[in-house]
């Protein structure tokens, strides 16, 4: 039982350190951290503990924590709730759209897509890069398999 508690505590502490030491600790970096943690903790388990239940717990824990992190980091609903709790008691929908959503969410995603080489901006026009086109073809196939007509 102690091993479960120690492993979880280690996960939280190491993640805290990583968030301080790594510049711009994004979801992608957290994902890499979880993968490294999962490999190391199971390597330790395989050599010292040899506990199958510990392995299954770590698998479920890692997946659940990724799911939780993705929601807390990216969800628009979470952003609205925390903004209202920490900032203003009430806010106009249009103001929130202009100041918080359009600038800090929508434009930020566009910037991320440009930085990651999916989108190209020439003058005022946006294009898909060859990498973006490749991903679009993959998304189209997956969306047709899952009968998704529109996303958003």
């Amino acid at each position: 039982m102690y091993s479960y508690f120690i492993a979880t505590l280690f996960f939280i502490l190491a993640n805290y350190l990583a968030s301080i030491l790594v510049k711009k600790y994004t979801f992608e970096k957290f994902f890499i951290y979880v993968v490294i943690y999962f490999i190391l903790v199971n390597f330790f388990n395989l050599i010292y503990l040899q506990n199958v239940n510990f392995f299954t717990f770590q698998t479920l824990f890692s997946v659940a924590i990724l799911f939780l992190y993705a929601g807390l980091y990216r969800s628009i609903s979470v952003k609205i709730m925390i903004y209202l709790y920490l900032g203003k008691k009430s806010i106009n929908v249009n103001n929130f759209y202009k100041t918080e959503f359009k600038e800090k969410s929508f434009n930020k995603r566009i910037r991320i897509l440009i930085d990651n080489g999916f989108l190209v901006k020439k003058n005022k026009d946006f294009f898909l890069s060859p990498r973006g086109k490749k991903y679009l073809a993959i998304f189209k196939t997956i969306q047709s398999i899952y009968k998704i007509k529109s996303s958003g």
Binding site: M81, S150, G152
Partner: protein, 163 residues
């Protein structure tokens, strides 16, 4: 060796589960949650049925926890392709090769527009009685309580920014 056998069992489960889910998706018109839950239960039952007379039966309980993890990953994947914000921006280029910034905003989510995603999420949390939504947005008591929990988890996971 035991861990490898568990992984093998869960791999068989994953293949069966995804196949059944796709079959349900294309041939039955059911609610989305049921379309996922029935294949999940059926795939587990199929595994139990084939393992009942083999030694591997003992490993099913461990395999089931991995299967739950697979279910979480699968649901997350489905959420991503359905409601993924960034992915939706890329899919805007299905019809047009070049778009202006204004067109990106206007055509987002199949022409619903970028504001739609905000009003959609606001309506969803309004239905759950987390916020009160008139012209202004305000948190309800439930919203306050949930916000505290969310902030607590964000602190534990050292999340400082929004993506």
């Amino acid at each position: 060796m035991t861990i490898l056998l568990i992984i093998l069992l869960s791999s068989i489960f994953t293949a069966t589960f995804i196949t059944l889910h796709l079959l349900f998706l294309h041939f039955f018109y059911l609610k989305k949650t049921i379309q996922i839950l029935i294949p999940f239960i059926l795939s587990n039952l199929i595994i139990i049925y084939f393992l009942r007379e083999v030694e591997l039966y003992k490993l099913f309980y461990d395999s089931f926890i991995i299967n739950l993890a697979v279910l979480i990953i699968y649901i997350e994947f489905l959420f991503l392709i359905k409601t993924g914000f960034t992915l939706s921006i890329i899919t805007l280029f299905k019809k047009k090769k070049k778009l202006l910034y204004k067109e990106l905003i206007k055509n987002y989510a199949n022409g619903k527009g970028a504001k739609w995603i905000l009003t959609d999420r606001l309506n969803k949390i309004n239905r759950l009685k987390i916020i009160k939504l008139n012209k202004k947005i305000t948190l309800t008591q439930l919203g306050h309580f949930l916000s505290i929990i969310l902030i607590f988890f964000r602190k534990i996971l050292s999340i400082r920014d929004f993506g």
